[in-house]
Amino acid sequence: MCLSIPARILKIEGKTAEVSAGGTIFKAGLHLVEDVTVGDYILLHAGFAIQKISEKEAEETLKLFDEISNSMND
């Protein structure tokens, strides 16, 4: 289900983080994830980080998608 996108943690204060989605900054509760630091990517949903995602893996997958998308437009 539902709207949840990868966002990068910019700042952490206690259990609340500021995360960036393409440059727009949202607040995220960190109660549902562990071991996250500034620079990590998380999935943001309804004001909470619900999962930490590996930046490397996310980037690689999105790059793969770009290639696939581009080839589908040819």
Binding site: M1, C2, G29, L43, A46, I50
Partner: protein
């Protein structure tokens, strides 16, 4: 070779795949995925939109509370326009009720903190992706002794309704499983599907390539007669899921039987506050009467949510029932099968 072409090359028969996630319904139509698939692959929209499967009674209750003095109703935007029996939260707001859109339960809690003289009612909808956040919110309210914050829960969980679908005769070959529900529950929560019914499952994300890849994986499973649960969305989903989130969910909520629009009562499919937190349940504090009138009998949202009918099978579709004047919730919600069909039809 691109994914759509790979799908063309791999199909050997007809396939029906059901997705049970509002986000998937929306993405499929937004990207025009049906227009890229061969005719033999059909995508069916199941009960994946938490708004669509919530009964009119819930909306009527929320509307009832909105009419009480000193009540602030905090809701996700999804619910604002859902029609109740006689009205909607939006119409009530236009008539003077204090109904506010929030993007998180935490926002609603903050409103309760800063408006101690008011009663703040948070409308908790969503599946396993959203419920843990509500659980956190309740725990915070509990810890801080906030006594003007309440919840009206319409939270539900996915496995029971999927069990319903596979038990009651269907012509589905497999499920496109919800990627963010699975992020929380883990992919193992879906193991019962291939085990009990022999249907294939692929858990996927929301990029168009995710969905196309999942369809390809499902086709391969069906072709090789090897149904299992596969994770396509491995950048977010693991077998065990997010145990921290599941712990919050189990600590604050317990399963209960609730009515799903189009399915009737499904045992152990809803989430209700546990005894330790029952003082946050608005119905424990104050009851409202609802008219309990029947839904429009020509509305076939129920059948559409089971994948038995398509939106344009409904006599009301695109005529009396449209996004501006929705009759059933399938038309109201952006992710509703009827709304998506209306907006994105080809």
């Amino acid at each position: 070779m691109n994914l759509a072409a790979m799908i063309e090359k791999t199909v050997t028969r007809n396939y029906n795949f059901m997705e049970v996630c509002g986000g998937h319904t929306s993405a499929i139509h937004r990207f025009g995925i049906p227009s890229l698939l061969p005719d033999c692959v059909k995508l069916i929209s199941g009960p994946g939109c938490p708004v669509c499967v919530t009964g009119t009674d819930y909306i009527d209750k929320a509307i009832g509370y909105s009419g009480i003095d000193h009540f602030i109703i905090c809701t996700f935007g999804d619910l604002l326009r859902v029609p109740g029996t006689d009205s909607s939260l939006e119409k009530k707001r236009a008539g003077g009720a204090d109904v506010r859109i929030v993007v998180s339960g935490l926002e609603a809690l903050e409103i309760a903190r800063t408006s101690p003289e008011k009663k703040v009612l948070f409308l908790g909808i969503g599946f396993e992706t959203t419920a843990p956040g509500t659980a956190v919110t309740i725990k915070l309210a509990d810890k801080e002794n906030i006594n003007n914050f309440y919840l009206l829960s319409a939270h539900k969980i996915m496995p029971p309704v999927m069990k319903e679908i596979i038990s009651n005769g269907n012509n589905i070959d497999g499920f496109i499983c919800p990627g963010h529900v699975a992020t929380i529950t883990g992919s193992d929560a879906f193991n019962f599907i291939p085990e009990k019914s022999g249907l294939s499952c692929v858990i996927t994300g929301f990029e168009p390539a995710d969905i196309l890849m999942a369809i390809l994986m499902l086709i391969k499973q069906v072709n090789s007669k090897s149904p299992k649960v596969e994770i396509q969305y491995n950048r977010a989903v693991t077998r065990g899921g997010n145990s921290l989130a599941m712990n919050y969910l189990h600590e604050v909520f317990e399963p209960c039987s609730v009515k799903w629009r189009g399915f009737g009562l499904i045992p152990e499919s809803g989430l209700h506050l546990r005894k330790d937190f029952i003082r946050f349940d608005i119905e424990n504090f104050l009851d409202v009467k609802t008219s309990g009138r029947d839904e429009n009998e020509l509305c076939i949202c129920g059948n559409i949510l089971r994948g038995l009918n398509k939106p344009d099978d409904c006599l009301l579709f695109a005529d009396v029932c449209n996004p501006e004047n929705p009759v059933g919730a399938c038309m109201v919600s952006n992710e509703g099968a009827c709304n998506s069909w209306y907006k994105y039809r080809m």
